[in-house]
């Protein structure tokens, strides 16, 4: 197994911590993992993104230059990184904030209105986890349980009350993809 996931969005969208969560889960499942942030040239108020690699063998470069999956949380991220995705790869688009479509035809693209869905389940901050749930369902890179376990380790104790809603978000993302089946592949 070798998954190189690029998560990209605005600063403040929780992009970096979502990546860490994923890496942590990979580690818990005994994989080799690496996480690396990358600051765009526009350091301030600009884009934030991180690469997460989860693999069966030692990871050479932690830098994700050709992602197997791109999670695009805003429009500039989609525009910038879409061309880099490996053929046959996956692009998850947060269509709450992105009003354009991906142009690639050699990859699977899924649009998820993550912000709206998050507000529907009562917490606008779990948008990322809805998309993460979709990722898990499609790639099987780690289990939802491992992510929940990671949350337990990563979140400070006084935020553990947030774990159920996060779990719900993950599951919601999974459901969405399940409903779709694997039609496009």
């Amino acid at each position: 197994m070798f998954q190189a996931i690029l998560i990209a969005g605005f600063g403040g969208q929780g992009v970096l911590s979502t990546g860490q969560l994923l890496a942590y889960a990979g580690m818990l499942e005994g994989r080799h993992v690496a996480w690396i942030p990358s600051y765009g040239p526009e350091m301030r108020g600009g884009t934030a993104n991180c690469g997460v690699t989860i693999a069966d063998r030692p990871i050479s470069s932690p830098v994700v230059s050709e992602p197997t999956t791109l999670i695009a949380m805003n429009r500039p991220s989609l525009e910038k990184f879409e061309p880099d995705v490996q053929p046959g790869g996956l692009i998850l688009v947060n269509s709450s904030l992105i009003d354009i479509k991906a142009r690639r035809t050699d990859v699977r693209v899924e649009y998820i209105k993550a912000n709206e869905l998050a507000e529907e389940i009562g917490n606008s901050k779990v948008a990322n986890n809805i998309i993460l749930g979709a990722l898990l369902e499609i790639t099987g890179v780690v289990s939802i349980d491992a992510v929940e376990e990671s949350l337990r380790k990563v979140l400070p104790a006084h935020h553990h009350d947030l774990i159920p809603v996060n779990r719900r978000a993950l599951e919601l993302g999974r459901e969405l993809m399940r409903e779709k089946g694997t039609e496009k592949r």
Partner: protein
């Protein structure tokens, strides 16, 4: 007929900045540019950008610009001004840049009476590098390197630059202003313009310290940040002119 009463100054390029929402670096840029416009010296003004959040100032000011190494803008400005004494030279520096690593350079540019204008952005933090304590960070203020709050015993007290430079004979104009509300923005503009005038009159070294907000690293919304500035920084850093030549 409608007439423009407020528009972009010529000295600022018509490009978006990289600053965070509500960052007052943007306001101060505009004030400097307005002063240059009003003094009609755009064509012979040379600016020196620091290392700090305002590092890209060289992309925003439309005059000739230099990017200096961290803290050394006053030395770079000295080199420029000594070669081109009839130009108007300014530096734009943060509190890490000027009040920490660049202490020697600013003190001696002032002591030499170097005919330059220093715009000193005091936002009580190293913003660009991720919110570390600056020499001007307030006691008790939490930063990434004072996670338990700045402690006087460990880190000493915030440095007051205007007060310190004010004692030097070579300093001709020294003022501290703030941009936390419209009235103070107006005052800040006046001080900046005055500093340029004093430079051009050949009186010596000029510096305007601007109390400035860093919503991002302070962890506050922009308007909250301005309130925090007014409530916490202004009392510790009294506003006003610390030194000014009488003739002007």
């Amino acid at each position: 007929m409608m007439q423009k009463v407020f528009t972009r100054p010529r000295t600022l390029k018509d490009v978006p900045t990289h600053y965070c929402p509500g960052c007052t670096h943007g306001i101060v840029h505009r004030l400097v540019a307005e002063a240059i416009d009003e003094l009609n010296v755009f064509d012979r003004t040379i600016g020196v950008a620091p290392v700090g959040c305002s590092v890209f100032a060289y992309n925003y000011f439309d005059c000739d610009m230099y990017e200096a190494s961290h803290g050394r803008a006053p030395a770079v400005a000295t080199g420029i001004k000594r070669v081109l004494p009839d130009r108007v030279v300014f530096t734009y520096q943060g509190d890490g840049d000027l009040a920490a690593i660049g202490t020697g350079e600013v003190v001696h540019a002032a002591a030499r009476g170097e005919k330059i204008t220093v715009i000193f952005i005091n936002n009580a933090i190293y913003a660009m590098t991720g919110g570390q304590m600056a020499p001007t960070t307030l006691i008790g203020q939490k930063t990434t390197t004072t996670p338990y709050g700045r402690d006087r015993e460990l880190n000493g007290s915030p440095v007051k630059i205007c007060e310190m430079l004010g004692v030097l004979d070579g300093a001709a104009y020294i003022a501290r202003v703030s941009v936390h509300n419209p009235a103070n923005v107006v005052k800040a503009k006046k001080a900046i313009k005055r500093a340029f005038e004093v430079q051009m009159a050949g009186h010596g070294f000029t510096l305007v310290e601007v109390l400035s907000a860093c919503p991002t690293n302070w962890g506050l919304a922009p308007d909250e940040a301005l309130r925090w500035l007014a409530d916490n920084m202004v009392p510790y850093y009294p506003l006003g002119e610390y030194k000014a030549p009488e003739e002007i």
